[in-house]
């Protein structure tokens, strides 16, 4: 009897524990923060004359009747809806649910989710073929683009592209699909029929690439993104010598050819370009500037003229010219009236452009020619006074904190406080030794901060970050940013549900290789510095602080110099002498198991 009772308690305890771990594994932001709406993507239905607004954090769809500008209904969606496309007949809306790894199908007549298709990890951008038969999805964490048959739900192809593919666009008559890769400084061209990689086009200094559109009948593909000058020491904010912001205009038919045009003004950076929309006549390109809360309206004929007039020798110079936008009269930039503009939609019939403002939780209705704000449609149900955490999230993404608005914290750490995958020479630990940007998610409880530990704690780190933006730390901002970074917005880890047997074997490899000597839980860091023999020739020190392994599945490239592209590379190429754990002589299968385990941390 006693044994049965004991067993009962055991199972009760086990159930409580497992439900707790389940909850924890899915926590991505503090309690209460899921109630903010965070509109991120807009889709317009000409047939129904409706606007569909995806709210990311409260995971819902708002349907707005354009005639009355009223929210007619709301549909709850899977976690973190991120992008949507409309079927050509306007009957269904396809929504990528970032954290549920699926595409939900919303039946717009019944206004309910009518189906769901499982896709890769963290589906981001969506595109539908012009015949309405195929759906393309960029799986931003799996680094693949998948094509699905809409009728059967069958996978037509699943092609590996660059790191963190974000958005895609189809050029129907040429059968080309272009994909913007958020973390690999390039765009991938795919054959839209069979998914073959046609070209990986390097975009040189590109960083955090976002939306992509075709222009001039498919002659050009344009990607919005940052121009990251990580080749320089980060000594000068002015003239965008750390980050500037712009468009990468790629000539589709000419391999390798692209021209970078900055959207900045000399004293007024155009921080964090995100969404793109192009008018039907191809005359105007709209770019949302998420970091400076503006919409840029670009005169396409002037932009194309500038691109065509730029000889190969002048491409680099033009990419560094933060006065180009004004000097060539490329267009206007106007405030959206909201905060954190991301997704855009064009209403050609009314001559309006709609802008989803992520942080103010509303949709700006702007004149498509002049950019004047006609109205702000509120989506947000939370009080206007933001929580400290939410203020922190906004500040993190807000380039108004930066001298001349060239960048925000999110320009190197992405909108979720992780990293941009680049090596930056921050000068605070000596000149000429760039190091890989670290995710800020694990900085708070693993002091000292940064690879060489130059900041005693994250408290000092946040202050230094504000100085890096060009100003003396501000008490209020400091509190909000610290609150935000204390409970960073973590994504649920999809690798936890992968092959459990492999993970268990991997954990054994991990322990046998004595990885746990330095990477032990709960932070998976010992807070000390070690010399793993990884000092590169340009570096001035040999020891670096043990990084945390939490979320290592998404923080590549790896090691302090970012030389290891994948987790496998760490053990196959960068640990010949066992200094970084006893991994010499592990078989490929064992390394695969080890990586399977690491990805669950």
């Amino acid at each position: 009897m006693k044994r049965i009772i004991c067993r009962g308690f055991y199972w009760l305890g086990f159930a409580a524990f497992s439900s707790l771990t389940f909850l924890l594994a899915n926590v991505s932001r503090p309690e209460g923060e899921f109630e903010y709406s965070s509109p991120i993507a807009l889709t317009i239905s000409v047939v129904k004359d409706e606007l569909y607004v995806l709210s990311q954090t409260d995971s819902s769809l708002a349907i707005i009747e354009l005639e009355t500008r009223l929210v007619t209904s709301e549909v709850p969606l899977g976690r973190f809806p991120t992008d949507s496309v409309l079927s050509p007949d306007g009957a269904f809306l396809y929504v990528s649910c970032l954290y549920d790894n699926c595409i939900q199908i919303v039946d717009l007549s019944s206004r309910a989710v009518s189906g769901s298709i499982e896709v890769g990890f963290e589906p981001y951008g969506l595109e539908i073929s012009s015949d309405g038969k195929r759906l393309y999805v960029a799986n931003s964490l799996s680094n693949t683009v998948r094509a699905l048959s809409i009728d059967t739900g069958k996978v037509l192809f699943d092609t590996e592209v660059g790191r963190n593919p974000r958005y895609l666009a189809e050029l129907a008559d040429q059968g080309v699909l272009v994909v913007s890769n958020g973390l690999s400084r390039n765009a991938t061209y795919l054959d839209a029929r069979d998914g073959r990689v046609l070209e990986t086009r390097s975009l040189e200094r590109a960083s955090l690439l976002r939306d992509v559109v075709f222009a001039k009948g498919g002659k050009y593909a344009i990607v919005a993104g940052l121009i990251a000058h990580d080749e320089m020491m980060t000594l000068q904010i002015e003239r965008g010598w750390i980050n500037s912001n712009g468009l990468y205009v790629m000539e589709v038919g000419e391999r390798g050819r692209f021209v970078t045009v900055s959207l900045d003004g000399l004293l007024d950076g155009a921080a964090n370009p995100w969404g793109l929309a192009i008018s039907k006549d191809g005359e105007r390109l709209y770019v949302s500037l998420a970091g400076i809360h503006e919409l840029a309206i670009v005169d396409m004929s002037k932009l194309v003229a500038l691109v065509e007039a730029t000889a190969a020798d002048d491409v680099v110079r033009l990419s560094q010219d933060v006065e180009a936008f004004d000097r060539h009269g490329l267009g206007v930039r106007c405030e959206t009236g909201g905060l954190g503009p991301r997704g855009l939609a064009l209403d050609e019939r009314r001559g309006l452009v709609y802008v989803a403002n992520y942080f103010s939780g509303d949709v700006s209705i702007m004149d498509s020619k002049t950019g004047s704000v006609e109205a702000l449609l509120p989506i947000e149900k939370m009080p206007a006074e933001k929580s400290l955490w939410r203020q922190g999230e906004l500040l993190f993404n807000d380039a108004r904190l930066c001298q001349q608005n060239y960048y925000s914290c999110a320009s190197c750490h992405q909108e979720d406080a992780t990293m941009d995958g680049l090596n930056w020479d921050l000068v605070n630990d000596g000149k000429g030794n760039p190091k890989n940007a670290k995710s800020l998610h694990d900085a708070m409880d693993t002091p000292p901060v940064m690879w060489s530990g130059v900041r005693e704690s994250m408290f000092a780190g946040v202050a230094a970050g504000q100085r890096f933006l060009g100003f003396i730390p501000n008490q209020e901002n400091h509190e909000a940013l610290t609150a935000y970074l204390s409970e960073p917005p973590r994504a649920p880890n999809p690798f936890v549900d992968e092959d459990e047997a492999a993970q268990a074997r991997g954990q054994r490899v991990f322990d046998r290789a004595r990885c746990d000597a330095c990477h032990f839980g709960p932070t998976y860091s010992d807070g000390r510095r070690h010399d793993l023999g990884l000092r590169a020739h340009f570096e001035i020190r040999s020891r670096f602080y043990t990084p945390s392994l939490r979320e290592v599945y998404r923080t590549g490239p790896y090691l302090h110099h970012g030389f290891a592209e994948s987790l496998e590379d760490i053990f196959k190429e960068f640990n010949p002498d066992n200094r970084h754990g006893l991994t010499a002589g592990l078989t490929d299968a064992e390394i695969a198991d080890l990586v399977a385990y690491l990805k669950t941390l």
Partner: protein, 279 residues
């Protein structure tokens, strides 16, 4: 009748002193004193790590941990393919504190890792033996000192000193001066017979100030000793001559090396740079 002592017997003859014999006695006495003094002055400085090295040799440590504790010997069972050598940054994988070094030596395993073998399988074909019954407290200290020298187990070593230790390694200083400059390498014909340690007391006699330390490194000798007849005699006679690094060592490397040697002797060295308010 006067007492007849040995001295009287040996050194007098009919009330007269035998001056020849007395002279020999005097010379012998001085000779013995001199020899004793020389032996005392030229006594090699045997530090705890040097004793530890000999002890490790006797205790069979090098059978598994590799010659002089370096590299470790191949081991098909070990996850890294070798028994752990003490060098090459292996120490952090096995020990966290000085107490843990003692635990390994005395018990052959860590208390905190009990059950590890059952869970994860054997780590080595030949398990680490326990030396509890073979060594005393003093010997444990010596073994630990040698391990620390080879493993360069200095948890709180500042950055500048650490970089200096790499310079020392790169330029082969440890070849003659031993790991972590512990000394003890034989040098026939030299004053004490061994290459001096960077840690002991002899160092202070050979290096009176910073500029002499620089002189040693750059020229392989110091003028003060070369000007002294005995000093010069031994310096020229010793088999291993300290090389001159003047043309090999950059100024930056020299500064790091100086910082390291001085840190070993208890001086402060620069660590993590302070927060720079500008950058």
């Amino acid at each position: 009748m006067p007492a007849r002592g040995i001295v009287k017997d040996a050194f007098t003859i009919e009330g007269k002193y035998r001056y020849g014999r007395l002279l020999v006695l005097l010379l012998c006495t001085f000779g013995l004193l001199g020899l004793g003094l020389e032996a005392y002055v030229r006594k090699p400085e045997i530090t705890d790590s040097i004793r530890g090295k000999e002890l490790a040799q006797r205790m069979g440590c090098f059978a598994c941990h590799g010659p002089e504790g370096f590299r470790g010997v191949p081991d098909p069972v070990s996850p890294g393919g070798r028994m752990p050598g003490w060098d090459e940054g292996m120490a952090p994988l096995y020990v966290d504190t000085e107490e843990e070094i003692e635990e390994w030596i005395l018990n052959g395993h860590l208390t905190s890792e009990e059950g590890r073998q059952e869970e994860l399988g054997a780590e080595n074909l030949a398990p680490m033996p326990a030396y509890r019954d073979l060594i005393g407290e003093k010997e444990l200290e010596d073994l630990k000192a040698y391990f620390i020298a080879v493993a360069e187990y200095y948890p709180s070593m500042p950055d500048e000193a650490y970089e200096g230790s790499l310079v020392a390694k790169r330029f082969g200083c440890f070849g003659c001066h031993g790991p972590s400059g512990m000394g003890g390498i034989q040098n026939p014909g030299s004053f004490t017979g061994i290459v001096p340690s960077w840690k002991g007391e002899h160092f202070a006699e050979l290096v009176e100030n910073d500029s002499e330390l620089q002189e040693w490194i750059l020229d392989g000798k110091v003028q003060r000793i070369m000007d002294h007849p005995i000093g010069r005699y031994f310096m020229e006679r010793q088999i291993i001559q300290m090389p001159a690094y003047r043309n090999e060592l950059s100024e930056a490397d020299l500064q790091k090396l100086l910082a390291y040697i001085k840190w070993l002797r208890g001086a402060e060295a620069k660590d993590r740079e302070a927060d720079n308010p500008i950058a």
